[in-house]
């Protein structure tokens, strides 16, 4: 094995093209390893791409992602597959055979992202990138700065009787509705699982009214509402009637630290809410925000950020978990109910909009990669040859994911050397 590895570069398969996976890929490739990245979505960047701003510097996500995209584009050792999923993994450290299924994009590399296909397309689909808050055509670009900058046609939403309008509209011959799924067999020395996380399903939080009470959204939906590329072009308007949000409540630990839901702390939701408070405060000077919490957890240097937000007189904090959310009578406002533990009284607070700070559920909780080991919560258990990076292993912020990815690279290239 070591003889073999001295003749050719290490080959590493990275499962997942989010922040952790991309960092793994560029770091590994820059050590001279051959890297293949497979990504389930039609675009790279994962959850970070959906954020409005991210820690630690509160830059827009494309700042950091663009840098990684550039390093990938200019590095011939990295191969990318979007809309791809692992089917099986066999073999062992130093010699894995992985079968990968590539789903059809129905758009080939000729695409110039001119939008003609979308204009011609008569069918629509809910925009999952914006958590269903708006719709796109069945032929769509996932988001403005999507990488690869190629359209995709959603086969499930594509109405077969449309007369193939998109194909006729495309001047570049990029639309290929005959495209079929294909399976590839890849041989690699090691794998890095960077499959990331899903926002915990708020429909399961029966006390918190999501889906039943108007204007109850999740923190990830808030990122999209605040984002210039989101459904409201960055104006924080509540979904039911488009009213600018003046008075907002954040509900911490919505399903986190709860044995009925996610038993652990996701460690990022407190900071996410504090960050989102600044979105609304900066956008709307008269606005008021109130955070209901069990404990505010802002580890390390993030404590400073908490201190800064706390100084704002329009932001208040109430110790006590919200355990009931109902619609205000005769309006689209929302009423949250909690105990204010510092006064020892039950309080009902009316707000324009409520944000549920839902936690991170590893994708391993709902979609496991066959051949990878998981713990009971769905987090990946690393073994020699298959290491986890980022939130597939533990909830963490972007900065830690980057560090974690680098450490996964070290493990992966060591495996390639037969140690």
């Amino acid at each position: 094995m070591s003889e073999q590895s001295s003749r050719r570069p290490h080959r590493i398969l990275v499962i997942g093209g989010g922040f952790s996976g991309l960092t793994t890929a560029v770091d590994a490739a820059e050590t001279g390893a051959e890297v293949i990245v497979i990504e389930r979505n039609p675009y790279l960047g994962g959850r970070v791409a959906q954020l409005n701003k991210y820690f630690p510097k509160l830059c827009p996500p494309l700042c950091g992602l663009e840098l990684n995209f550039k390093r990938i584009r200019t590095n011939p050792l990295v191969t990318l597959h979007t809309m791809a999923e692992v089917e099986t993994i066999t073999g062992g450290p130093g010699d894995y055979t992985v079968t990968v299924k590539l789903h059809p994009r129905y758009v080939n590399d000729n695409c110039t992202a001119c939008n003609a296909c979308a204009e011609a397309c008569p069918a629509e689909r809910p925009n999952d990138f914006n958590f269903g808050m708006d719709r796109t055509k069945a032929a769509y670009l996932p988001f403005n700065q999507a990488f690869p900058q190629k359209y995709v046609i959603d086969g499930a939403s594509c109405a077969a009787d449309c007369g193939k309008a998109c194909r006729e509209a495309c001047r570049y011959g990029a639309v290929d509705l005959e495209m079929k799924a294909e399976t590839r067999e890849l041989r690699v020395d090691s794998l890095v699982v960077a499959t990331g996380w899903d926002p915990y399903d708020p429909n399961r939080l029966d006390l918190l009214g999501f889906g039943k009470v108007k204007n109850v959204i999740t923190n990830m939906m808030m990122e999209r509402l605040a984002s210039p590329t989101g459904p409201t072009a960055g104006k924080i308007l509540r979904p039911s009637d488009g009213k600018p949000v003046e008075n907002i409540v954040f509900v911490q630990c919505a399903g986190s630290r709860d044995e009925n839901h996610l038993p652990y702390c996701s460690s990022i939701c407190c900071l996410a809410s504090l960050k989102q408070v600044t979105y609304i405060r900066e956008q709307n000077p008269g606005s008021k925000a109130r955070i209901f919490y069990i404990d505010i957890r802002t580890p390390g240097k993030y404590e400073k950020f908490y201190g800064k937000v706390k100084e704002d007189p329009n932001v208040s904090f109430t110790k006590g978990k919200v355990a009931r959310i109902v619609q205000a009578e005769g309006s689209d406002d929302v009423i949250v109910e909690a105990e204010d533990m510092l006064t020892g009284a039950k309080v009902k607070v009316q707000a324009d909009m409520v944000v549920l700070a839902t936690g991170m559920e590893p994708t391993g909780a709902s979609r496991k990669v066959s051949g990878v080991g998981y713990n009971g919560d769905g987090f990946v258990l690393s073994v020699q040859g298959v290491s986890a990076a980022g939130c597939s292993k533990n909830p963490m912020d972007v900065a830690r994911s980057a560090q974690d990815a680098t450490s996964a690279v070290l493990k992966a290239i060591k495996t390639g050397q037969g140690r």
Binding site: L207, C253, R257, D258, E259, N260, H261, I294, G320, K321, V322, A323, R324, E337, A338, E339, M341, L342, G344, A345, K346
Partner: protein
């Protein structure tokens, strides 16, 4: 709450904490004070609501704050809190344990309270009525199953029953009165509140609430419980009526038992007995069904349920076996029935039966102090 605690020196009673844990509150320490419980509770007042603060008192071993606290009886153990608790801390079970300890704290004599709460004394407690009733039978010269028509007075004459059970009832009433007085005084100290307003009015209001189970009906996770409890409640009322009626027949009209089945008193008694059996079975079924969400309950709970269940079954079978003329079973079953009825009466101030007295006291106190209007 913190204002009350701030500036005070907290004296945790660690033995009290262990005691709660041993009394069915074993999940107590899992609580991390998020207050989901208090918010989902539909029976708590909005000001200084429970049970989150009680969970803190319990974790810290603040004995006085719990045992002098009428709030633990405003709780009807709906278990909405327990079902939604993110940590499995089971506040409903913990408050149940605190109620049990309240009963033990105020009921006199104390040693009996400890014996009733502890399964290892069960046989000893049973031995008292067994020996007492056997003494009557042997004293009468009965050595086997009597011949002829089944008439229970052949083994157990009415005067003996009257003496034994009146004594048990008087003992229970005295013990309760003593307990109520002590508890009332303790609540005044604990809540630093002075009762005011008409006591009679508040007693009537509380009893009216019991008659409809108005508060109990607010429970959502274990909603059927109020129905089964109501059934048992009215069954007991019916049986109390039957007993009074029988006393009137016996001493007012000098009519001896057994009475014919069409007698209205008999009818009320039979219907009540069936309601009791049905009601208590429902209670047991609901408890088992809700065990996962609401907790499995303690020895204290199950002893009480078992005693009532056995009384209902043996009572009905005493009658059926008598009518079926199966003497060899009828007399022993009747004997068991009496043993358990004695058990229920004499030990009422120490068993879960006492909940009716302490809950009434606490609810009246809560009304008198404006805690619960």
């Amino acid at each position: 709450m913190p204002e009350q605690i701030a500036g005070q020196i907290i004296k945790p009673d660690l033995n009290f904490v262990k005691d709660i844990i041993a009394s069915g509150g074993e999940s107590l320490k899992k609580c991390y004070q998020c207050s989901t419980c208090t918010v989902v509770c539909d029976v708590t007042p909005g000001e200084t609501p429970f049970p989150r603060k009680e969970m803190l008192y319990a974790q810290w071993g603040l004995k006085e704050r719990l045992l002098n606290n009428p709030d633990v009886w405003l709780c009807h153990q709906c278990s909405d809190c327990t079902a939604h608790c993110p940590r499995g801390a089971k506040p409903g079970e913990v408050l149940g344990a605190v109620r049990k300890m309240t009963i033990r704290e105020y009921s006199a004599p104390r040693f009996l309270a400890h014996m009733v709460a502890d399964s290892k004394y069960l046989l000893l407690l049973m031995a008292l009525p067994v020996l007492l009733l056997l003494g009557v039978i042997v004293g009468r010269g009965v050595t086997g199953i009597p011949d002829g028509e089944i008439v229970y007075t052949k083994i157990m004459p009415v005067p003996a029953i009257d003496v034994i059970f009146t004594a048990a009832a008087v003992f229970a009433v005295l013990s309760f009165l003593f307990g109520i007085r002590k508890y009332w005084a303790a609540m005044k100290v604990g809540t630093k509140a002075a009762p005011r307003g008409s006591l009679a009015e508040d007693v009537v209001a509380v009893i009216t609430e019991f008659l409809t189970h108005r508060r109990f009906r607010k429970c959502s996770v274990t909603q059927e419980r109020s129905t089964s409890h109501l059934l048992v409640f009215y069954a007991f009322a019916g049986l109390a009526l039957t007993t009074t009626w029988a006393i009137v027949y016996l001493y007012g009209f000098h009519r001896e038992s057994p009475y014919p089945q069409y007698d209205p008193m008999k009818l009320v008694g039979n219907v009540s007995a069936l309601a009791l059996l049905f009601g208590i079975s429902l209670v047991v079924v609901n408890r088992l069904k809700n065990a996962e969400k609401a907790g499995k309950g303690s020895y204290f709970d199950w002893l009480f349920l078992s005693v009532i269940f056995i009384i209902a079954v043996t009572g009905l079978f005493s009658e059926l076996l008598r009518l079926g003329n199966i003497a060899v079973l009828a007399y022993p079953v009747y004997f068991i029935h009496l043993v358990f009825v004695f058990f229920l009466f004499a030990y009422a101030p120490f068993s879960k039966m006492a909940h009716m007295v302490y809950r009434t006291t606490a609810l009246v106190f809560a009304r008198q102090t404006g805690r619960d209007r």
